[in-house]
């Protein structure tokens, strides 16, 4: 029971003043009335004793004068049986004026008590008698202790009555208080039901008090209004749900469209890039070589744009998932140097990396995403710098036993940014100004994606810039320190990867003829023996006929039987259970990777095929070739 709630309640607040007032009144009555009763009782007792004394004195006279002892005996009997009786005495007045006790009842009463007439606790009355032979007075004393006892006995019913009155009064007041508070509680409960949205709650019984009636009427009107409003809201909500579902469907359709378009764009792009790569390996006249180089460069740009759109779609859908694998920061920096450092050098500007103390440290994180951010920032820096150079400064901001916060400051001496340009720098599809797009190209998604990636990795990207002097983009990220010295991707040079393919038998399942040609050419140039299957079913048949393959490169989207189903069936055959299967797909979402793993595939290569990446993954999945393998 919550006493505080009771004490603060209306019923108690109503009851308490009445209870206090009643208690004080009855207490005062309990003090005053017995005192009045006592005084009255004492007066009556004194009068009664006086009369008894007079009667006794008269009996004494009659006894002496007329020998009427019977009346004396009767008088004494009556007197001694009186309540509060203490003693009765005949005091004889002697001829010399002194007094002497003639007789006293009870006889053992001490003489001083009789004669002094001021005994404490005694109430004296007296009556004179006068006969020729005996003169004096009858003294009758009452005991105050007995009187008090009689008074207490007399007052006891009064106290009992007052107590009963008090209890009954408090009870009645409590009932009244409850009668007032109960409707309030009922209305409170009613309002609570409304607050929690239960508008179908029944109307409480009507209270007697006018104010409460008005309150109830108001609440009932409120309920009806809310109920009507809810009906309207329900209709709106229903429409909103329909609209939301339609929007979700549209979003799913958009995602599917983006994924499909990605695949559809990547597949021919893969062919373009692959064939350009192959063609560039042949002897060509300078003009054709220049054309092919431009085709290859444009293809890579297009691939970058497609990747940006895909990344942005994933980020917007909240579907971005980061890997947490051991990696070496040095290798990431090498890749950055290889990609944008080369571009800077080609452009005639410097490119350097400082603060590489952590290059050999193994971290846990997503190296590809870190690389993506750094390539984007440095790529922008190279793009907007025409003289001077680009520099990456790496510094450790915070560190603990388990994590390290790193800051990569990408500094350039480029065109710089005005405050207005910086303000809209990280907005989607927004560049510094329209002329930037015309001059430098790009989708305007790179920085947005980079910042989202940085935030997903526990950091952010900030910018400081002075127009005409250059910019500093600071990318911070929090990385966990790896306790494993385990395998770190890409630890071997590309030549070593290719060497590991020497003499291996590889089955390539790919429906696109251009891609078949590219992959075959790439792998055979590395010394591998390649067999092509047009779809998953053909691949499965080939393996059933001849299971002696070292590795299968499996496209995911194929007619007749897709790569997922083919991989599952391969895993169902004991003879092929340990065969390495690597997925090749333009669908690079985390969900796709998950599906590949669930289907039993060992690794993943994105499309368009990057030759070095393909060699790296294939080499990692293949055990070193036994000596003498052909």
């Amino acid at each position: 029971m919550n006493l505080g709630r009771i004490f603060r309640g209306v019923a108690f607040r109503i009851w308490l003043p009445f209870a206090v007032a009643l208690s004080i009144s009855i207490l005062a009555l309990g003090v005053y009335y017995p005192r009045v009763q006592e005084n009255l009782f004492l007066r009556v007792t004194e009068q009664k004793f006086t009369e008894l004394a007079r009667a006794t004195a008269l009996s004494v006279e009659l006894s002496i004068d007329r020998d009427a002892f019977a009346s004396l005996a009767k008088s004494i009997e009556v007197t001694t049986k009186s309540n509060s009786f203490a003693f009765v005495a005949i005091v004889q007045r002697m001829s010399d004026g002194t007094e002497q006790i003639f007789a006293v009842n009870p006889p053992e009463t001490p003489a001083p008590v009789v004669l002094r007439r001021d005994g404490r606790g005694l109430l004296y009355t007296s009556a004179p008698f006068n006969t020729p032979d005996l003169k004096g007075s009858v003294i009758l004393a009452a005991s105050e202790e007995k009187l008090s006892e009689d008074i207490r006995t007399l007052n006891l019913p009064v106290y009992r009555t007052l107590g009963v009155i008090l209890v009954l009064s408090l009870f009645v007041v409590a009932l009244l208080a409850r009668a007032l508070s109960h409707p309030i509680k009922t209305l409170t409960g009613f309002a609570s039901q409304l607050r929690t949205g239960h508008y179908s709650v029944a109307t409480p019984s009507r209270p007697y008090a006018t104010e409460l009636k008005e309150l109830q009427d108001t609440l009932v009107e409120l309920r009806d209004s809310l109920s009507a409003a809810r009906l309207g809201n329900d209709e709106i909500n229903r429409k909103l749900v329909v609209a939301r579902d339609a929007a979700r469907d549209a979003d799913r359709a958009k995602s599917a469209f983006v994924a499909n378009m990605s695949h559809e764009i990547r597949t021919p792009l893969n062919a373009v890039l692959g064939l350009a790569h192959l063609a560039l390996q042949t002897d060509l006249p300078p003009k054709q070589r220049d054309y092919l180089l431009k085709i290859s460069r444009s293809g890579r740009t297009l691939a970058g744009i497609v990747n940006d759109i895909l990344d942005f779609s994933k980020i917007e859908a909240g579907a971005l998932e980061l890997e947490s694998i051991p990696f070496s920061l040095g290798e990431v920096l090498e890749q950055v140097d290889a990609i944008t450092g080369e571009a800077a050098r080609e452009k005639g500007i410097s490119f350097s990396i400082t603060g590489t103390d952590h290059a050999k440290t193994l971290f846990l994180g997503d190296p590809l995403r870190i690389q993506q951010v750094l390539v984007n920032l440095t790529g922008n820096a190279v793009k907007f710098t025409h003289q001077g150079g680009v520099r990456i400064d790496i510094e450790r901001r915070e560190s603990s036993a388990e994590t390290v916060s790193l800051a990569f400051r990408v500094c350039d001496t480029g065109v710089g940014l005005t405050p207005a340009q910086m303000e809209k720098l990280f907005r989607s599809f927004s560049q510094a100004d329209v002329s930037t797009t015309r001059t430098y190209g790009g989708t305007g998604l790179g920085l947005v994606i980079s910042r989202r990636l940085a935030e997903a990795m526990g950091g952010t990207i900030t910018v400081e810039s002075v127009a005409g002097q250059g910019s500093v983009f600071t990318f911070t990220t929090r990385l966990r320190l790896s306790v494993e010295g385990a395998s770190v991707r890409g630890s071997s040079p590309p030549a070593e990867h290719r060497a590991r393919l020497q003499g291996r038998r590889l089955l390539v399942a790919e429906d696109n003829e251009f891609n078949q040609e590219i992959v075959r050419e790439l792998l055979e140039r590395s010394g591998a023996k390649v067999v092509i299957a047009g779809n998953g079913a053909e691949a499965l048949q080939t393996l059933e006929r001849d299971p002696a393959f070292d590795l299968v490169l499996m496209d995911v989207q194929m007619p007749v039987m897709d790569g997922f189903e083919a991989a599952r069936r391969i895993r169902q055959q004991p003879a092929l259970a340990r065969l390495t299967v690597i997925a090749m797909t333009a669908n690079v979402t985390v969900e796709d990777r998950k599906r590949c793993r669930e289907a039993g595939m060992n690794d993943f290569v994105g499309k368009p095929i990057v030759p070095d990446r393909l060699f790296e993954v294939a080499a990692r999945c293949l055990a070193p070739a036994p000596s003498g393998a052909s």
Binding site: S63, D67, L72, I76, A103, P106
Partner: protein, 147 residues
């Protein structure tokens, strides 16, 4: 007080010498009468004690009711002096004190020997003394008689 003491001293040897030899009537001119008292020829001391209110119950279980001559009875003074060794006022005051203190049942005062005899005859437990010179009471009431 002194008188009472002197009378006691004078009567005591008399009572002592008379008691064994003769009844109470020999020491006085009174006849002792009673109704269902159970007494048989009591001596003077016993009679005196009875009339001084010192006995409350008879051997017959009847309550002692002392009947005394009132101030209008001509033998009351003589009775007080001879039997109680008090004067009449002293007898009254003695009984006043006894009755007042609740030590004795109040005695009945009657004005003549005839009234006394009649009362005793009618009242069980009553005891009285009447002058021997008065006409004789019924024999069944007499407890001791002058010879």
């Amino acid at each position: 007080m002194f008188t009472r003491l002197l009378l006691s001293l004078l009567l005591a040897p008399l009572a002592a010498s008379a008691a064994p030899a003769a009844g109470a009537e020999k020491a006085s001119g009174f006849i002792l009468i009673g109704n269902r008292t159970g007494l048989e020829d009591p001596d003077l001391a016993a009679v005196r004690a009875i009339f001084r209110g010192e006995q409350a119950i008879w051997p017959t279980r009847e309550t002692v009711l002392v009947v005394l001559p009132s101030t209008r009875a001509d033998f009351s003074e003589r009775f007080a002096q001879e039997i109680l060794q008090l004067n009449r006022n002293g007898m009254q005051r003695h009984w006043l004190a006894l009755v007042f203190q609740g030590r004795a049942r109040s005695p009945v005062f009657l004005d003549s020997a005839a009234a006394i005899i009649d009362f005793v005859r009618k009242t069980p437990g009553a005891i009285a003394m009447v002058p021997a010179s008065e006409p004789g009471p019924p024999r069944d009431l007499v407890l001791s008689q002058r010879r």
